[in-house]
Subunit: 335 residues, 2 copies
C-alpha cells in the first residue's frame, strides 16, 4: 500500500507509491543528440554575441568570455514602468510586467553539460547567480528573485547551449509566501528554523542523506514530490542565497556538479530543473528560512490529479533515491 | 510589455506575455497515431475485461457494456486501513495511503476520442463521474474527491483507450483548501460567492465568454495559467459537483464535447487535462464555492521558474483564446 507523507516545510501531503523496480535499469535513457563544440546557428555560441540583447555582465578569461549575462530575448518581465495595480480591490487585478528576466550563458562550449564542466566554471556560474541575485534584489521594485536552470525539453527548454536564468518579480511568488508562512509559524512554535531542524534530523538519521561535505549536505527530502528530487542545503544557517560566501562557492559547485552526474547515471540521464529557493525579499536577515538548491528531475508528468489537487504522486521512495544517488556519487571518477 | 494578472479565486498572480501569433497556424499539430476500433492488447477493450481488477460499476446498453468503472491497476490510494497520523506533531508526518483510485472506461471503442463521441455517451460518462463522486464522498474517510481526465502523453497518460479517473484522498487537497480559504474570505467581505460574481462579470463583459447555453457558460479565465485554459461553470449556484441535476447532464456533455472539439481545431490538437473542481468534503452546502470543470491544454511546459515560484507564464491572452475558441465552436458541424 502507498503511504502519505507531509512536507514539514509546506504542510502539504504527497502520495508515495513506489511502483517501479528501484534500479537504474528501470529507467529508459532520455534521447539526447550528440552535440558539437560549436553551432553556428546558436545565439549563445562565441561569434554570435550580436544575436543576444546587449550584455549585462561577463566573466572574461584569457581574453575571451567564459560566462555572459544577457537579457532574455523574449522576457517574461522587463525593467521600468509603474507598479500600480488596477482594479486591486475588484475581480480583475492587473499590473505592468515590471521586473527582469536574464540569461546566464554558462560556457562558451555549445555541447558542454554542467555535470561535465570544469569545477571552476561551475563555481563561476554560481558566483554569477549570487551576484545577479544581489543586484536584482536591491531594486525596491523586486519582491522575489528566482534563479533556475532548465535542462531538456521536458524541463521546458529547447536551447541546448548550457544556460540558466534569473527572474525578478514585482509580486511575492506564491510558493515563496506559503513556505515563508509555514516557516514563520514553525519558528513561533519552536524558536527554530524548520529547515535547520529538518537538516539536523536528516544528518542524524542518515537514510535520506546523500552527501555531506564542508559547508553543504545533499538530501533526498522526506516528502519528495518527484523521483530523485534532491535538496542541497547549507550546513550553517543562512536565510538568503545572497549571503553565500565566496569561500563556499566552490564546495557548492562541486556538490551540485556531482549530484547532476549521479542523477545522470542513476536515472537514465533525465531532463531536470534546478531552482534556488531563498527567503522573500525584505526578509533576508530573519532566522526563519534556509536558502537551498533543489534538483527536480522530470521523470514524471504532472497529470489531471496533480493539477486538480496540488498533491503529487511519487513512485520512488526518497530512501531508495538517496541510496542510489549516494552509490553513484561515490563512483564518480572511478568508472 | 507583459502584464501581471491576479486570479481573484486564488489571489495569485500570473504573467501574461503574449508572444506567438495568435492564430491556429502558430501551433504545430501534436503527433497522433491513427487508432483502430479495437486493440487486442488494450486492457480496456471489450473481451479483455479480465485484465482489469474486478468491476465496480458498469452502464449496459443493448446487452453489452458502454462504460465500465474499475479500480486502477496501479492505485495511488486504496480503501481500508488506519487514518492515524504518525509523528503528526513532528517533522516526518506519515499515514497510510487510504482512499480510492478508480478508472472510468468511457467507451467500448478503442480509438474514440471524447470530442467525437455520441452525445449520449459523453452524458453517461459525466453521469458516472457524478455518481462515483457521490459514493466516494459519502465515505467518512474521504476529504477530497478529484475527477480528472488525461489525454495524451504530455498530459500524463500513455493509455489511449478513452478513460477518465477519480481519486478520493484522506487529506484535504492543498489547492482545494487554498481556493476555499480565498472564497470564504471573499464571502465574508462581500456576502457573495466569488465564482458567481466572476461569472456574472464575464457574462456582462463578453470578451472572455466563449459560450453560454442552458445551464452553463464556458469562459477563458481572466488570469489563465496556460494557453486556451477554459472553465465550464454552472449558471445557477451549486457548491458541489455532486449536486449536478440529471436534467443538466446533457447540456454539460454537449458543451464539454464542443469545447474539446474547438480546442482541437484551434490549437493543433493538443494533449489536455480535464479536472472537476468542487468544494471540499463537508462544505458542500455552504454558498462560498461554485463547482466547475476546467480544460487545461498542455501546450506549455512548467519549467524552473514555475516550479520555483508557483507563478505561471501564459503566452496567449484569454481574450484571444476566447475569440478563437468561440469561432471554432460556432463552426462545429459546418466543416
Amino acid at each position: 500500500m502507498a503511504t502519505l507523507r507531509q512536507d514539514p516545510t509546506t504542510k502539504e501531503w504527497i502520495i508515495l507509491a513506489p511502483r517501479r523496480a528501484e534500479r537504474p535499469a528501470a529507467y529508459s535513457p532520455f534521447p539526447r543528440d550528440p552535440l558539437p563544440q560549436r553551432d553556428d546557428r546558436c545565439p549563445f555560441c562565441p561569434g554570435n554575441e550580436h544575436q543576444t540583447p546587449p550584455e549585462i555582465a561577463r566573466v572574461a578569461l584569457d581574453g575571451a568570455w567564459d560566462q555572459r549575462v544577457v537579457p532574455n530575448l523574449f522576457p517574461a518581465l522587463e525593467p521600468g514602468g509603474s507598479l500600480e495595480r488596477e482594479d486591486a480591490a475588484g475581480l480583475f487585478g492587473e499590473m505592468g510586467g515590471v521586473g527582469s528576466h536574464e540569461v546566464i550563458v554558462e560556457s562558451p562550449v555549445h555541447g558542454e553539460r554542467m555535470d561535465e564542466m570544469p569545477l571552476e566554471r561551475v563555481a563561476r556560474v554560481i558566483g554569477l547567480w549570487r551576484d545577479r541575485y544581489l543586484t536584482l534584489k536591491a531594486d525596491p521594485a523586486t519582491k522575489g528573485v528566482i534563479v533556475f536552470k532548465n535542462f531538456g525539453e521536458r524541463a521546458g527548454t529547447s536551447l541546448v547551449h548550457p544556460h540558466s536564468q534569473i527572474v525578478a518579480t514585482p509580486v511575492f511568488p506564491p510558493d515563496s509566501l506559503r513556505r515563508y508562512a509555514v516557516a514563520t509559524r514553525y519558528f513561533d512554535d519552536t524558536g527554530h528554523c524548520v529547515y535547520d531542524d529538518l537538516l539536523e534530523a536528516e544528518l542524524r538519521r542518515e537514510e535520506r542523506l546523500i552527501s555531506k561535505v564542508d559547508g553543504f549536505a545533499a538530501v533526498a527530502p522526506f516528502a519528495a514530490r518527484v523521483p530523485f528530487e534532491t535538496w542541497i542545503m547549507p550546513l550553517r544557517h543562512q536565510t538568503s542565497f545572497g549571503h553565500l560566501q565566496d569561500d563556499l562557492v566552490s564546495a557548492l559547485a562541486e556538490l551540485l556538479r556531482g549530484m547532476l552526474g549521479a542523477l545522470r547515471r542513476v536515472a537514465g540521464d533525465p531532463d531536470f530543473n534546478v531552482v534556488v529557493l531563498s527567503a522573500p525579499s525584505h526578509e533576508e536577515w530573519k532566522p526563519f528560512f534556509l536558502w537551498h538548491v533543489r534538483i527536480l528531475p522530470r521523470l514524471a508528468t504532472a497529470a489531471g490529479f496533480e493539477l486538480g489537487s496540488g498533491m503529487y504522486i511519487n513512485t520512488v521512495s526518497p530512501e531508495a533515491s538517496a541510496r542510489l544517488l549516494r552509490e553513484a556519487l561515490a563512483g564518480v571518477g572511478t568508472g
